[in-house]
Every structure is written in C-alpha cells, then in structure tokens.
Point group: C2
Chain length 494, copies 2
C-alpha cells in the first residue's frame, strides 16, 4: 500500500538544464575537487601533503581520526552557498549538523581565507596548507569535530539534533540573514530535530530572516541505514509537505552542480517572495517555505570498494574509510589512487603559492564570506535595562515576586524591541510572567490571532527547541530568557 | 499556497452511519457520563460527593488540584477500548500521554473494579466512591498525575513526550497485545514524541503486537494553541501519511461515539490484516499502520463560559476551570449546574449500591479489563544467563573486554530468544558488541535487508526513543540493554 502516486506531485520540479553558465559550474567543481582533497588529506597525511613526490606509507598519519563520509556533501553545499551569496550579495552563513565533518568546513574556511583572518599561521600558501593538513586532529591543530575555535560556527555538532533549531534562533530579528542548515540524515532521527522542522511556524517573515534547511540524505549513519535513506522520494515529499514545506529533492548525480545551483536559487527566490509579501503588508498565511533534500552517496568521490566490500555509498565511509592505510598494501594503494584522483597540483599553483584563479573567483567578496560573518563571532551588546527601583514594592505591601519579575521583563522588552526574546514551553503564564503580554505578543504564525504581528514571546512545548532557538539567538549576539517548568503550585488561587 | 486538494484523499473515510447497535452506543455514553462526573467531582468535591443534597460552597475542596481539560477525551477513548476489547477479546491496555488526566484514568479503573482489585478500600460502592472522590489529590489519596500506584499504568506522564515510544516497547515480543496510546497535542510538540512516530519502522508484525496511536488534538496546551490544533485535516493527513500511517480523523461531534467505535474497529481490522499477512508468510513491505487523530473540544461537557470568557474548547479548561468555585457565586453556580448535568443519580443505583447494569455491561470480562492486565504489573522473570567462565580469557592472552562482552551478549540472546533486546543509537558496532550479529539481526523493517526477519537489535539515532522503548519493554517484565555513545577511541586500529 504505497502512498498514492498523485501525491508525488507535491515534489518541486525544476528544469536544471535551463540555467546558468557551464563555466561557473565548472569552477564550482574545481573548488570541490580542492576541498575534497583537503578534507581527505587532513584525515590521512602527515607529510608530503601536496603529493610532490610519490606517496609512501610513512606519509600516512599513525593515528587516523576524522569523518570522511559527510565531507563531500558539505563541500558541495558550501561551494553553492558561495555561489548564491556572490550572485545576490546575501548575508548568509552555514550551520552544519554533521559537525564531525570538520575537515570539510576547515577546507572551505582555509580556501576562502577566513581561517587566516583569525589565525595568520593558516594563510593561503604552502606553509598554511602544510599546517592545516598535518595539524588536523593533532595537539595544537584543529580537532576532528567543529568546535568554537573554528570561524563562522555557532554550532558544534556535539550532541546531535540541534542544528536546525539553532539556525532558526540565529535568523530571528535578523531580517536579511539567511542561514543554510545542513541536517544529517542520522541527526534527523533524533527528537530535537524531528520537532524542529516546525520552527518556521514561529517565524514572522516581516521581522526575521530565513533558514534553508538541507536534509543531507546520504542513506547511512554509523553502521546502519537511516530512516530517511529508506524513504522514497514520495514518502519524503509527503512527510515534509506535512511539516509545512515545499520540498525539492536534489539528487541528479549526473549533473549535481546544476541541480544544486538550480535548487538553491529556487529556495532563495521563494524566501524573498514570502518575505516581500509580508514586508509589503500582504503576508501569506501559513507560507510554505522551501527546503532541500540532497541525496548523494555517502563518501562520494572516495574509495569505491575495499576487500570486496562497498565503501562509497555505504556506512563504511562514515569515518576513516581506509583505517589501515599505513600498514596494509591494498588500503595504501587505494589511498594513493584516491588522493591523486583530485589532481590537486592542477588546483593549487605552487609557483604562485595560491589556488588557481578559477577557484578564487568562486568566492564571494571578502566581507560576505561565511567564515567571517560578524553574527557568528561579534561580542554581544548588553541590554538596556530599566532601573529596578522603579518597580520596587513598598514595605508592608504584598506582591508576588514572579509578577514583579514579569513587570520588569515588560520594561526590558520595551527598551529592547529587537534584541530580547522569551522562549518558553508554554509556561510563561504559569510562571506569572504574563505582564509581558501587555507590551508584546506571542509569535505563533499558524494562528490567525498571532500571525504577522511580530512578538517577543515564542512558546512551543519542546524544551529542546526552546534551547536550540535560544542558543542560535544568543550566540549571534542577542539576549533571551527561557522560563521553563514552574515551581509554584499550579492551581493556587493566589 | 495550501497543500493541493487531492492530497486530502489521503484521509481514511469510513461510513459511521453503517455500524453497530444504537443501544451499545447509548451504554457507552452512560459510562462516559459516569466517568466524566467522577473526574470532575474528584477535582472539586470534598463532601456530598453523590449530590444527595443541594451543593454548598462548603462541599468544595479548599485546594483545587487536577487537570480537567483532557479528561473527557480519555474517558471517551477508555470506553471505546472497553468496547473493542469486549467485542474481539483483545489483550489491550492504555498508555496515557496526558498523565495529568489521572481523574479520568482513576474514574475508569474505579468503575471497572480494577482499583478495588489492588486497593479493597476503593470497592465499587458508596463508601469507595466517597473515598475516591474526597481522597483525590489529598494525603493518602491518589495524586493528580498518574503514578506507579495506579493500576494498569506503565507510564506516568511526568516528563512529556515518551508515551508513544513506551507503548511500542510494551508490544515488542507480545504478538497478541495491542496498546492504545493517547498522545496529547501539547506532548506531540516535543522532540521525543515527534520522532517516536517512526517507531513502527522497527516493529516486525510477525513477532510483535501493535500500537493504536490516538493523537488527541483538542487544540490547546496550557495557555496557548497547539501546533496540531492549528493544522487543518489535510495538513494533518499529509504529515502522518509521511510518517507512514493511514490516518483517520475522528471528529464528528454530533455522533462521536459512532465515529470512535467505527474508527477503532477499522484500526483493529487493519492491524490484524497486516499481522495476518506477516504471520502467514506474505508480509507487506512498509505496511501502513493505522492511527487516529481525535478532534474534540478541550474540557468537553464542562462549563462553557466564565466571566464572559470561553472555557470549554479553550486553554482555560486545561486545569481547574472554575478555580474560585468555593468563594465566587458565579463559579459556584456554574459548578453546580455542571455537576448536575451528568445526572449521576441515574447512573449509580444507591439502593443496589452499584452502577447501573447498562454501564456494567459495557465492561470487558474481568480478566480482560485494562486495569488488571498482568503485563503492566507482573514481576519480571530473570534471564537465563550463560556461565561466564565459558567465555573466560586465558591469563596472558590479549582480548578487548568489550568484544568479550559482545560474545556474552550473544549467548544471552540465544538463551532468551523472546525476552531480551538491545536498543542502541547505532553505537553497537562502535562499542564492539558486534559479535551479537552472529546470532541475530537488526530489526529495521523499512530495509529489504532486515525486514520480516525478526531480530533482537533495534538501532535508531534517537536516544529518547531508545529510552522509551526500553521503558516499555522492561516495565512489561522483560530485560533490555541500551549501549549508548562509546568511550573508546573510534578509529583506533586495535
């Protein structure tokens, strides 16, 4: 009993042949060849990192750490974010759910020069390349998971499941910002992610920016198939249409760059259309925001098979696909063939000590590069706070302390109309903070009562989502309050 | 841009006029009048609990505790579970996500005599009634939330979100058992619930029983609309079809008993059809299990309006809808009218000191009543365990201790083929417990490799779901292991 065929009409269809310059796409491919090489070599090489002489087993790190499987997908998405940013001058950054794909994130940050902005020792030259590759997952180098030392990151991918909610927190009150969010198909099985798909129901397109969620469905988690990998296109379309999205499945492996560019352009145009309606006084009720499901093989471009077992397109590419490359002949030769396949010498010009011009031309202008967006690192500015003496209770008077806090919060909201929010699992009233409703609204966009009115209060019963929103909001420099379950007795008449 | 109209064909359509005896339905209504009265009076009355004389303010409890809003829905579902059990002699019990609806659960357990089985002081007579109502939320009485002292319960509704996964854990390896699971629409916003809808993808219909999930969509949480309340029928149908279900929306307020009876009968027949296929060697790949979305007003049959504000069908009925009934004239009179509306004197025969025969006739035979199902309380039987000396390592040998534990687990699985399971967030292999795969399978039903083969190992990346499954499995008397994130280094070649 499959889902009726006609439901597959829910999928967004785009003509990928129609668009854009073949030359642009070729340059994006070159960028990905470079970043895929860098990611792979970070995991494996401790010497001879530019393959200037034949690879030897001694060049291979003694301890192999890192996750290859997700890297090619991150590199694909990163390259196409660059392309979209460059074309439309969009303020955008990337939140990467598979934070263990640090080799890919670091590779892109290196190529675009953002690493060097914060760490001059990682400048774009041969010495910087050496340091990046040799130092990865090594004392004093970058760790195998994205951490807060990595530029442009507000999400570390440690406890799985929060990338999506964090992304939504970041775009709140940042009306021009777009956050592209990669959600891994393993991560997508978690509860925090499963309910975070609802987040758009709490985003007012007039006051906030937008998220482009990209479910990277490569089919496998650590050693097992994923739920989303086992769902066909119609099943995927039905589920996410049910969550309120327009669903584009990007999966043309013969022309993935054209498909990805077309899909992201569509997503961008849909976002601007929804925002323009809301900002010109004609808001759409329950707008269907765009999302992308990217279906590419896990560990794409990596080794195909080892000891008769499939690696590319299987869970075996999740971490280190050739774990004994330093000692096993077959693995070593596979590694050598794999690394050479990217022809990195064609991409990095040793005489110029820099990447080829075609690669550098794919990058957005410096101030728009994702690694240096100030939202991701600028210190927050303290709130304007009321003088609490104005709200003091006279000696002998009787007042609920929580009611008084509610009045104080109202003042804070009035004095900081665009940089203070309250996230709560529908426990605002029970915590007696309801004085806040005299100065602001709830922000539930799917209710005619509260849609398109802005509002500082966002209440969803998922504390995971409240937590993720707050993380995204505060790590981009703003302040939030998270009143959770109350301690007072619920039904007390006082 | 609504979802295309044709998608609403996804909804399951049933002819509710076609079915069953009007008399049966009338008796089910009488049962609900009784349980609704009992639930309301538990929240409010400390004296005169049978309304044998005119109500006085002094009869009202001084401290009002409890949640009325969810009770009428629980009573409706409980009555119809009884009806289904009686008709088909099904082993069934109920998991109630809104565990704060304890007045409803207790009312049904009292009427069916299950309370008295465990607590003779709550026998079905006037004295027992008095004790139940007066003692509710009072020292030595039952608390306002379901707890482990309440018969027939394996889920306390404390931390929201686990009812659904707990239900699935309970039916694993109980092939005849059906667990009806009420999921509140507030609870449904949580992450643990949002991903638990996927649980059927890990249920082999040949070896395990079934869950009938009932999303009770009454539209409101504590003081705000719910996400699911704001979704129309087509949106609901699309989302849950996407999760893999056949979706029946039960919402005919003019004939809710006929609708509910028809819907549950359909769900039961669909379950048996799927199970019969699997058990006769013709399993359906990706079977679409039935689910019900029940749309009834919050606090249905309670007070309609107070001080000009709507109560029934709004968040104001969530807890105590008339919080000042002991002191406020308007509230007191509303309470009196409300309680009298159930005409409890017609339902409980004082001369017989028992409920009317028509009510008693709605109950399943004693051994099938939901409050005394032995799965919910019987002590577990210890596993048969191997002699660990058989697996000992010789002094001087070298062996991974986790690999040795894996071999031990394999023996445990072989010796306990139907009462030991492993739940893991895809960390079994990384924990080096993979020896278990030599004696059993993974149980992912959406993969052709592992579907319809049974299997003791269930891996989903949601630790919330693993936790809920384990709770349901172990609280119904079996044993499980939950290997979570590993401590060893992942890529170590050793």
């Amino acid at each position: 009993m499959p889902i009726p065929e006609k439901v597959s009409d829910l999928l967004v269809k785009l003509d990928i042949a129609e668009i854009r310059s073949k030359e642009d796409l070729h340059h994006l491919e070159l960028l990905q060849r470079a970043t895929n090489y860098l990611a792979a070599s970070m995991i494996f090489l401790q010497k001879n990192v530019l393959l200037e002489r034949p690879l030897s087993k001694d060049d291979v790190k003694e301890r192999l750490l890192g996750h290859w499987g997700t890297c090619p997908g991150i590199n694909l998405i990163y390259a196409h974010c660059n392309y979209l940013i460059k074309k439309h001058s969009i303020p955008m950054f990337l939140v990467t759910g598979p934070g263990h794909g640090a080799p890919a994130s670091l590779a892109n940050l290196f190529v675009e020069g953002s690493l060097a902005k914060f760490y001059p020792q990682y400048s774009v030259n041969k010495e910087g390349l050496n340091r990046l590759i040799r130092g990865f997952s090594w004392p004093h180098g970058f760790p195998s998971h994205v951490n807060s030392e990595v530029p442009g990151q507000i999400h570390e991918g440690g406890e799985l499941g929060y990338a999506l909610s964090v992304s939504f927190g970041a775009i709140m009150d940042n009306p021009d910002l777009i956050v592209t969010c990669i959600v891994g198909d393993g991560e997508a099985e978690t509860g925090p992610t499963a309910t975070a798909w609802h987040s758009y129901k709490y985003i007012d397109p007039a006051e906030s920016g937008a998220v482009i969620p990209i479910l990277h469905d490569n089919g496998f988690k650590i050693s097992e198939e994923t739920i989303y990998g086992a769902m066909n296109d119609t099943e995927i379309a039905t589920l996410f249409t049910g969550f309120g999205y327009q669903v584009r499945i990007t999966s043309d492996l013969n022309d993935i760059n054209a498909d990805m560019a077309t899909s992201l352009e569509w997503a961008y145009q849909e976002i601007r259309r929804i925002q323009n309606c809301a900002r010109s006084g004609n808001p759409i009720f329950k707008p269907k925001w765009p999302m992308i499901v990217l279906r590419t093989p896990k560990g794409w471009t990596g080794p195909k098979e080892l000891h008769g077992q499939r690696i590319e397109g299987s869970f075996r590419s999740h971490q280190v696909p050739l774990p004994h490359a330093r000692v096993d002949d077959e693995e070593f030769h596979l590694l050598e063939t794999w690394l050479k396949s990217y022809k990195f010498h064609e991409l990095f010009d040793l005489s110029e000590n820099s990447f080829r011009m075609e690669i550098l031309e794919t990058l957005p202008k410096e101030e728009l590069r994702m690694g240096i967006r100030k939202e991701t690192y600028a210190a927050y500015e303290p709130l304007d706070l009321p003088d609490c003496r104005e709200l003091m209770i006279q000696k002998g008077d009787n007042e609920s302390c929580m009611k008084a806090v509610g009045k104080y919060c109202s003042k804070v909201i009035e004095m900081n109309p665009k940089r203070f929010r309250i996230f709560s699992p529908d426990e605002l009233v029970s915590n007696k903070l309801d004085a806040t409703f005299q100065v602001t609204n709830r922000n539930f966009q799917w209710s005619p009562q509260t849609s398109n009115k802005g509002g500082r209060i966002t209440e969803i019963l998922s504390e995971h989502t409240c937590q993720g929103w707050m993380q995204g909001y505060t790590l981009t420099g703003r302040i939030a309050l998270f009143p959770s379950y109350k301690h007072s007795w619920e039904s007390s008449p006082q």
